[in-house]
Subunit: 216 residues, 2 copies
């Protein structure tokens, strides 16, 4: 059984939990609250020098980091992974897009606006950039979804799971999805998949996030 | 033969050219100068709605975007792609790390400092963040390379090519690599690979980059 180091409120961690749930794969979850410094302990840094969750123990003492690499690893050979070489590459295309265009913007806004009490005031200037670039990423997604039900292989794949992670909390950190009808329909489509599990996060309850890295 | 839409001075484009050269794969390169708006024409946007290079035509009228997805696609089944499932996942781990920790920081600094004339003054505030986060990414790489010659599978793979793209120009955009001896040794190691080709870029020659997206 996989051992997953994860934070409940982290979108990147949630992606992996969602995939494992959709795949009906049992796993042992260990909660690492990065807002309380638990990813910066010597013990955790020995497992992942980047100090980030999620982290999957793939063999005794061997750890895999990066949410999308973990998704790719656990879904290999399953219905969530496209079969053809070109469709797998297209799924990866959207997963890389997610990590440089969506996660650094909506993920950062989610962290500071939704999770850190008072975080909005700490990040006023950065928030403007995150909103602008996050909306640009959402527009790229909307344009694709106007003509497709899913992001790759004409069915639910890893690419959808990767993109769902932060898109589905965008409305909790100031993004207005009313002008993105295809995205809203796609969100509901993902949520209807057998085995779907929600993120179950709670809003701002940490007093001071100023010293915490923005990447969750 | 592959048709590659690429910009000579783009680190993301260079990664693909480097991989194709190492693999001794012929390709037809079409120069798209994003600094002159060539990635924003209706013709190019029809191929890639994100308006980014590199872009690979993988079949008649079918295009693959995202440098690292393209790397993964062209290197499949070659010596640059690890054989085992876990080693492929570890290569992907570093490629996702590259796209959210290295490229948005060193890539952005390279663009504005090295390519755009006067860009440094336009981005004074952002540059501070890019330097801090870029150094943090370099430290993660340095720590890994202290105990490994390469990033995955104990040999030159896609992961090294992805990370080489912007790391090798870091010294051209204010990063000081003198305290990263393992990175400097690894850069030389990559450059000794048979088929290695240099990026062949030219510094700041564009007068106004203020309206150009930072992602190159």
């Amino acid at each position: 059984m996989y051992k997953l180091y994860s934070m409940q409120r982290s979108g990147n961690s949630y992606k992996v939990r969602l995939a494992l749930s959709l795949l009906n794969m049992p796993y042992h979850a260990i909660e690492i609250d990065i807002l309380r410094g638990e990813s910066r302990t010597p013990e955790f840094l020995a497992k992942n020098p980047s100090g980030q969750v999620p982290l999957l123990e793939v063999a005794e003492g061997r750890y895999l980091a990066e949410s999308n690499a973990i998704l790719w690893f656990v879904a290999n050979g399953t219905a969530l992974s496209p079969e053809s070489h070109i469709e797998r590459a297209e799924a990866l295309q959207w997963m890389f897009f997610e990590q440089h265009a969506l996660e650094p913007n909506i993920g950062a806004a989610y962290f500071w606006v939704a999770l850190v009490k008072g975080g909005r005031d700490l990040q006023t200037h950065a928030l403007e950039d995150w909103m602008e670039r996050g909306y640009a990423a959402l527009q790229v997604m909307e344009n694709h979804l106007k003509g497709h039900d899913y992001f790759a292989a004409s069915r639910l794949t890893l690419a959808d799971i990767a993109l769902y992670g932060y898109t589905h909390v965008a409305n909790h950190c100031d993004y207005d999805l009313s002008t993105f009808p295809a995205i809203r329909t796609w969100l509901r489509r993902v949520e209807q998949a057998p085995g779907f599990v929600s993120m179950d996060w709670r809003p701002a309850e940490v007093d001071d996030g100023a010293s915490i890295a923005a990447s969750v």
